[in-house]
């Protein structure tokens, strides 16, 4: 194998694929990145068996070949090079990769690519196309609500539901729920149907990889329905799916509300963050009290201190005093992308709903905390 690439292109591609490298794997080969020549130039692939990221780097290929190189070392090394053409040459009998770049003549020992685990079959073409930035935003708005607790695996995933003209993303950790709907162009006959559960961490990697240079993402599900593929022009991310039944989320979305509050999103976000500084103990609770034209934020920690901050707001309905985990409120507000936000409630012990004003494609439901008032 012999080829020439730009060191900066190689560096950014390496940092992308190394997200799939497991730092503490018991299989040493999984700490390596697969480096191989192909139609598009040089292809880099890393996998932890659950998540696989593969990216093409433009390269002038003089001769074909493949090997695997320790990912961390290669990423760190290439990242420290000045931007210059870099020639890679493999000695197949020793599996030593020689890099020549600027003043450096570098040799790095690799492991034969035969040992690299077999990769999932590539996306076969059945799928739908989604606007890249919109998908990235939708992932950010929902993945934060997924659970980090492996005890209920389905909740560590994001439910992705395919409908004729819509893609719905849902995540919940049992305390809060986020739902986002994306418009999609009709997917044709073999477009995926039904729903899948994708590990939230893997979806976050997809969102991270989306850039203006990758405006469209193709989403496809393997025929055996155990893999999902996210394909961009130069990049493919595939993830194993989580098996199991996702809870029936639709039933927890409240229909009506007895109190609604509308106010500027950024002000509420900023002041909630400030008030939560005084919510220091385990419960991390902020309280919300509605009054005439105001929403008052309160926090209190015994023997630490308290804070009370009235905000101007348009308030309708019954007076209410309700408490939430501050982090859930902050996560939800950060996910709201409109200037104004609407909060709606059905009393202090029922779920609160946070949604942007002006669109109805997103909502976040938070269960309150019961505290001595």
């Amino acid at each position: 194998m012999k080829c020439t690439v730009s060191s900066s292109a190689l560096s950014s591609s390496l940092s992308l694929v190394s997200r799939a490298v497991s730092p503490r794997s018991t299989l040493p080969i999984l700490g390596n990145v697969l480096v191989e020549t192909g139609d598009e130039g040089l292809r880099l692939t890393a996998t932890n068996l659950d998540l696989t990221i593969s990216v093409a780097v433009p390269a002038e290929v003089a001769s074909e070949g493949r090997t695997t190189i320790p990912a961390r070392l290669l990423t760190e090394y290439v990242g420290s090079l000045l931007d210059a053409p870099c020639t890679l040459e493999l000695n197949p009998s020793t599996q030593v990769l020689r890099l020549v770049c600027g003043i450096h003549r570098t040799n790095i020992h690799g492991i034969d690519a035969i040992e690299f685990p077999p990769l999932p079959p590539r996306d076969t073409g059945a799928g739908i196309e989604v606007d890249g930035p919109a998908l990235a935003a939708a992932v950010t708005q929902t993945a934060m609500a997924a659970s980090g607790d492996e005890a209920r695996p389905v909740l560590t995933g994001v439910l992705v539901q395919f409908d004729a003209d819509r893609l719905t993303l849902v995540a919940t950790d049992g305390h809060r729920l986020a739902v986002k709907t994306l418009e999609v162009a009709g997917g044709g006959e073999d477009a995926p149907t039904g729903s899948i559960i994708v590990p939230a961490r893997h979806l976050t990697e997809v969102a991270r990889a989306i850039t203006p240079a990758r405006p469209v993402v193709r989403v496809a599900v393997s025929p055996s329905r155990n893999q999902v593929f996210f394909t961009m022009p130069d990049l493919e991310i595939s993830s194993r799916l989580i098996e199991g039944t996702y809870p029936n989320y639709a039933q927890v979305i409240p229909g009506e509300s007895t109190t609604t509050v509308t106010l500027p999103t950024s002000a509420l976000l900023r002041e909630t963050r400030t008030v939560s500084v005084l919510a220091k103990d385990a419960a991390n609770v902020v309280r919300l009290r509605t009054g005439d034209g105001t929403l008052t934020l309160l926090a209190q920690t015994a023997e630490v201190g308290d804070d009370e901050a009235p905000l101007e707001a348009s308030v309708n309905g019954d007076d209410l005093h309700i408490a939430f985990n501050a982090r859930y409120v902050l996560d939800a507000l950060a996910a709201v992308d409109s200037d104004q936000v609407q909060l709606s409630f059905n009393g202090p012990l029922s779920p609160g709903v946070i949604r942007p004003v002006g669109t109805d494609d997103y909502l976040c439901i938070i269960m309150p905390v019961r505290v001595p008032m």
Binding site: D149, R176, A282, I365, R370
Partner: protein
């Protein structure tokens, strides 16, 4: 002025708790020493031969007994310490029964030599209550009582004595307790001519060092509770503990007492600070208006009744809590590297010679042997840990990172600090929960939810066995106050709609199962249950051992730990932090200080 000895009128004598006081040689020693203390002795010499059955001699430099009253001293119900029934209601001396000398003289040969400071000496010799000899004798001021042939005429009692070793231990222990409760008196105790215990007479600290030994005494925290029920003495650091509960001595107004409830008060203060099956040691000395305590309960005068036991209980618990808030962290000890062994000790002091009949168990500390040592290790001597301060003195505690997603390594003004993140987080949550539940009155069964309860968007259905359901039914109100939303939901099922916020991020079903197993069937005190449930919730809510922590989270955990009273141990009594101080490292690296 010293009151004369008088025979108690029958009405008073009858009011005194009846029973035999001289059961074994140790009781003789105790009674004679108490008499010396009552006579304001400043020096006390105790000599014992043949485990007390051959000879017990107690000499003091106290006030003495007038020559003409010597016969009266060995008479039954004759005492100089009380005169009327009213006096019984407020006893400030150790003796008051007027029976000890008479009882001893009935079962042995007793010689009393006594001299008032401004008179000449006199002697009385009695055997089995019969006077053998009486007259003037040259003597130093004070009183010496010598008891020979104890139990010579009561073979049954002689037969019931334990081994000479055990009787000797009991008798030295009686002297040791007297030293602790009356620290100002200089005491020398010899067993068969060899000094078994010597206390210089001075402060309480001196007495504790004399009895416990310097290393164990250095591990004591002073109690300092004043008020109408003053609580003094000193109790052991949580990191220093014993295998038996006998190392803790209780005293009221200078009298060693037995009192289950007060022992429980101390144990309660140590809750969550000691590993299972380990006990504190030390002295809890209560000073209270004599009218508030009845010592006329049992002939041994070791049982007392408080007029207001709850008040004494609270005072003891408060004083212990205050002292234990100053607990010191466990110290890591590195053995000589050239000997290739490293021993981490949890600070077991050398054994307490007289307060522990049973030798202390092995140190619970981990012993790590270097390769090539065949897994054995020679424990190193515990260095002087006096320099190690409380957890608060480790502040500012700055996290340096996490080793292998397990241990936190931190820097403090006292040296390197190693932290078990799960144990530390567990203790922080536990303390916060107890504080919040305390404020909400959970133990009193008030309906308020303490500490917050996270409602669940997706209620969990939990399968339970019949015993679990019974226990839930018995404690459903309590469980609700702790922040659980649980309700019966068809046969064999509970529905969980809320969990305490502290444990909200974990597995709900597992949490509820553990909760139901923790609730007890019987009717144990509410505070006890509260501690157990708090420990459980904290355990579920804490970061798991092996979970990586971001640098900011590490620092926040350390900040909260330093602010937590009793933060040196997790709720199960295991250490949260180990301190490797500069002196220890210098010794290990052979770098001169």
């Amino acid at each position: 002025m010293i009151a004369p000895i008088r025979l108690l009128p029958p009405s008073v004598a009858d009011a005194i708790a009846a029973g035999e006081v001289v059961e074994r040689p140790a009781s003789v020693v105790k009674e004679l020493c108490e008499n010396a203390i009552d006579a304001r002795a400043r020096r006390l010499e105790v000599d014992v031969e043949g485990a007390g059955t051959v000879r017990i001699r107690v000499g003091d430099d106290g006030a003495g007994i007038p020559a003409e009253q010597l016969r009266l001293a060995v008479a039954r119900h004759a005492t100089s310490k009380i005169a009327s029934r009213d006096d019984l209601a407020a006893i400030s001396s150790l003796g008051f029964r007027g029976e000890a000398l008479a009882s001893i003289a009935a079962v042995a040969e007793v010689q009393i030599v006594s001299r008032l400071h401004d008179a000449t000496g006199a002697r009385l010799r009695v055997r089995a209550a019969t006077v053998l000899e009486e007259g003037a004798v040259a003597a130093a001021p004070g009183t010496t009582v010598e008891v020979r042939d104890l139990f010579f005429n009561t073979p049954a009692r002689l037969r019931f004595l334990r081994s000479p070793r055990a009787e000797t231990a009991a008798l030295v222990r009686a002297v040791a307790e007297l030293v602790l409760t009356n620290p100002a008196t200089a005491v020398t105790c010899r067993v068969d001519g060899r000094v078994a215990l010597r206390a210089p007479g001075g402060t309480r600290r001196d007495a504790l060092s004399a009895v416990l030994g310097g290393a164990a005494a250095a591990e004591l925290i002073e109690l300092d509770g004043d008020g109408e029920v003053a609580v003094g003495g000193a109790i052991s650091q949580p990191r220093s503990h014993r295998g038996t509960s006998t190392g803790l001595v209780l005293a009221v107004n200078g009298r060693r007492i037995h009192h289950r409830a007060l022992i429980a008060a101390v144990a309660e203060a140590y809750r969550g600070l000691l590993p299972g099956g380990r006990y504190p040691y030390g002295l809890v000395s209560i000073t209270i208006d004599p009218a508030e305590v009845d010592v006329n309960v049992h002939p041994s005068k070791r049982e007392v009744r408080f007029r207001d036991e709850g008040r004494v209980f609270t005072a003891v618990q408060r004083a212990c809590w205050a002292a234990l808030a100053e607990s010191r962290p466990y110290a890591a000890v590195i053995g000589d590297p050239l000997q290739q062994t490293v021993t981490l000790t949890t600070g077991e002091p050398s054994s307490l010679p007289w307060l522990d009949a049973v030798p202390a168990g092995a140190s619970p500390g981990a012993v790590i042997a270097a390769p090539g040592e065949g897994g054995t290790s020679t424990p190193v001597d515990v260095p002087d840990r006096a320099g190690l301060e409380t957890l608060a003195s480790l502040s500012p505690l700055r996290s340096l990172g996490q080793v292998a997603t397990r241990w936190l390594v931190a820097e403090s003004p006292r040296g390197v600090v190693l932290v078990d993140p799960h144990a530390a987080h567990e203790k922080v949550l536990y303390a916060e929960l107890l504080a919040a539940w305390g404020r909400a009155g959970v133990a009193e069964g008030r309906a308020a939810v303490g500490g917050g309860s996270q409602l669940l968007l997706l209620p969990a259905l939990i399968e339970c066995d019949p015993e679990q359901l019974d226990r839930f039914a018995a404690h459903s109100d309590f469980v609700a106050c702790c922040g659980f939303g649980l309700e019966p939901f068809g046969p064999g099922l509970l529905r969980c709609t809320a969990v305490p916020t502290a444990a909200a991020s974990g597995d709900v079903a597992q949490l509820v199962h553990d909760l139901l197993d923790t609730l007890e069937a019987g009717d144990r005190p509410a505070f006890d249950r509260q501690h157990r449930v708090a420990a459980l919730v904290a355990c579920h809510g804490a970061v798991r051992f092996g979970d990586p922590l971001a640098p900011a989270e590490q620092q926040r955990l350390l900040d909260r730990l330093v602010a937590t009273a009793g933060g040196t141990t997790c709720p199960h009594g295991r250490p949260t932090v180990l301190v490797l101080d500069d002196a220890t490292l210098r010794r290990a690296f052979r770098r001169p200080g």
